[in-house]
């Protein structure tokens, strides 16, 4: 059965990349056994780090909450991926944008994989009010598994304060090499659709699109089969063209609903909420099976691994361990990237643990050098491919000049860092890297300004307080003086006498 086709919105620019996906999709998902040690970073999501609630030496069970989200902050809790003993809470090398290590809870596994008991009669989410369902989702540690790792529950809560028409499940996975969502859709289409139904209930809406790229016929077939079986007319499957970066959140909204997310806005501003298909499956696991987010499917691929494959591994398993199950490194392995080739991050060690964001472990041979960076010739190729319709050549100009006003005016904050402009630039200018740095500088400047404004406010408040205290004191003194004056010399003599008397007594 093939998916019906619909009129789709158009994506500006974008690129057709070589997929390099078939290497890793030839076999089904491989389960990675429990490792000896699990290294669980406290900060695996957007927002503030989780706070550990277990101490060193504590025995923990699989699925047990070990670090919770501080109240009132953006974040997600962390659960133990297997049973064992906490042996350390210490910094460990991790994948991050800034810095190389972060505090982690290290668990020595006992191999028993003893799970925390789950309630025997699972809750039926259909009986729950939307708010109760949301507050249950909060506890599952679920974050966006497409790579952005925004806490799912908080995204839903934010969306609930807006008018939402559509839930979009993102199964586009447009970046080269990555195929974890593809195989997940092939093997767990039922759970994904169930997750979509739970999400629709939480949002109190009745329209969901599952968007899949047209180069994934098996996944489309699997989803279509499930949809035909459950006969839920609220869920509709949509094919989108194979163009990078059609899987970007705003780009997908544009493609599927033909609505444009405004600059600086969110998809909820145009009535849409986007979730990754893997996130939907994780929600099914948590709400229906009581299993919090403790593992994920990730693609291990590239010409640097012997047998590219998709694996399901527990969070905290080291990358070195996982690569071992993909046949190990080949002689050509040169660079290790966590994430895709366009948006991933290179790491210098394979001791880093698998975290919620790690959708791909990419091992590549040495990339052919793109050649030296040359001056910009203003060809405009970058503007033609930019999916956000920015003018990268102009932004580059202003980024070099550190002209914050112009960068803002030309929409640098809307750049999604997809890397299309880098690829087409005939002068080999690393545009995206420049934009990242410029964005960082803009953030720093804004922070600095906010700090200065605060310091000024406090300084002024203090001065006012001092003035007030001074005035109060003066008023008090003059009042005392007045009282004394009014009482006259007789009263003063009386007071002096009392004073002399008390001095004498104390002698």
């Amino acid at each position: 059965m093939s998916a019906p086709t619909y009129d789709l919105g158009k994506l500006h620019g974008g690129l057709r990349l070589s997929g390099n996906k078939s290497e890793s999709t030839s076999q089904s998902i491989v389960e990675i056994p429990i490792p000896d040690q699990l290294i669980l970073p406290l900060h695996q999501h957007v927002g503030d780090p989780a706070q550990p609630i277990v101490g060193i030496g504590a025995r923990v069970l699989k699925g047990q909450l070990i670090a919770e989200r501080p109240d009132g902050t953006l974040g997600a809790p962390v659960h133990a991926s297997s049973s064992g003993q906490v042996i350390a809470i210490e910094p460990w090398p991790v994948v991050r944008r800034y810095g190389d290590s972060a505090p982690c809870i290290v668990i020595q596994c006992d191999g028993k994989d003893e799970a925390i008991p789950v309630a025997e009669t699972p809750i039926d989410y259909r009986q729950l009010a939307a708010e109760d369902l949301l507050s249950t989702i909060v506890k599952g540690g679920i974050v966006g598994l497409g790579g952005a790792v925004f806490p799912t529950a908080q995204k839903l809560m934010q969306a609930n304060s807006c008018d939402i028409d559509y839930l979009l499940l993102n199964g586009v996975e447009c970046e080269s090499y990555i195929s974890c969502d593809d195989v997940l859709m092939r093997e767990r289409a039922g759970e994904i659709v169930s997750g979509a139904q739970i999400l629709m209930h939480a949002l109190q809406i009745s329209a969901c699109f599952i968007a899949v790229e047209s180069d994934k016929p098996e996944a489309i077939r699997a989803l279509a089969d499930v949809l035909a079986k459950i006969d839920d007319e609220r869920v509709v499957l949509r094919q989108v063209p194979t163009v990078y970066p059609s899987g970007g959140e705003d780009q997908l909204v544009q493609l599927v609903t033909n609505r444009e997310v405004p600059s600086g806005g969110l998809p909820s501003d145009v009535g849409c909420l986007v979730q990754n298909v893997a996130t939907a499956a994780a929600i099914h696991d948590w709400i229906v099976n009581g299993q919090p987010l403790i593992s994920r499917v990730t693609t291990v691929t590239g010409d640097g691994v012997a047998k590219p494959v998709n694996v399901r591994a527990r969070f905290g398993t080291t990358v070195a361990n996982i690569v071992g199950y993909a046949g190990g490194y080949t002689d050509r392995a040169e660079q290790l990237i966590i994430g895709g080739p366009m948006t991933g991050k290179s790491v210098s060690t394979d001791d880093v643990p698998l975290v919620k964001a790690s959708n791909c472990i990419l091992v590549l041979s040495e990339a052919p050098s793109p050649g030296p960076e040359l001056p910009c010739i203003r060809c405009g190729d970058c503007a033609a491919v930019c999916p956000v319709q920015l003018l990268p050549q102009q932004l580059f100009w202003y980024a070099c000049a550190d002209n914050e006003t112009k960068l803002r005016e030309f929409g640098l904050t809307d750049c999604i860092e997809c890397g299309c402009c880098d690829l087409v630039c005939p002068s080999n200018i690393p545009l995206t890297a420049e934009f990242r740095v410029a964005k960082g500088r803009m953030r720093e400047l804004a922070d600095e300004k906010a700090r200065a404004a605060r310091a000024r406010q406090r300084f002024e408040a203090r001065n006012q307080r001092l003035e007030r205290e001074h005035a109060d004191r003066n008023a008090e003194l003059s009042e005392q003086k007045d009282t004394a004056k009014r009482a006259g010399p007789a009263a003063i003599a009386e007071i002096l006498k009392r004073k002399q008397q008390s001095d004498k007594d104390s002698d």
Partner: protein
């Protein structure tokens, strides 16, 4: 009659244009400019410029009494922004400093409140004979609390 109206209208138009150009080219008045300069300063109130706070320094800069390179916490970035705003030549910073935050060694603090009274942004909490502590998020690193401490228990540490 017609000529007179036209002449007056033309004069009014010219004067209007002249005024609008003047408004754009020249700062409106010194007070506004002082405010603009003050906005560019880091508001540490550290007095390292020799003036008793950021606004007095801004006033001195505008009146020409102070050079624009006297603000160590602002660093080169602030000098460049001031030079840009005031149309003056950028100067190298008199001394370079890195951002600092005060730290009280709580085992040595005797609770004298001297540092608390010296802090320009109320970033020190403490009462008489009780241990004091720094609100490090609010501390501007101005070092004004270091000198008054009788037991030398305040250190300035670089921000990590």
């Amino acid at each position: 009659m017609g000529t007179a109206i036209l002449t007056i209208a033309a004069i009014a138009l010219l004067a209007g244009l002249g005024l609008s150009v003047a408004k754009r080219r020249l700062p409106a008045n010194d007070d506004d400019l002082v405010e603009q300069v003050n906005d560019l300063l880091p508001q540490t109130q550290c007095a390292q410029c020799g003036y008793p706070g950021c606004r007095p320094f801004a006033a001195a800069v505008v009146s020409g009494d102070a050079k624009i390179n006297l603000c160590p916490p602002g660093g080169d970035a602030t000098i460049l922004r001031l030079a840009d705003l005031l149309g003056r030549e950028p100067l190298p910073l008199a001394v370079s400093v890195q951002p600092l935050v005060a730290f009280i060694d709580e085992s040595r603090c005797i609770g004298c409140t001297h540092c608390r009274n010296a802090c320009p942004v109320d970033a020190i909490v403490g009462a008489h004979q009780l241990m004091h502590t720094i609100l490090s998020d609010e501390c501007t690193g101005c070092e004004l609390c270091v000198a008054p401490c009788p037991v030398d228990c305040i250190d300035m540490k670089p921000i990590t």
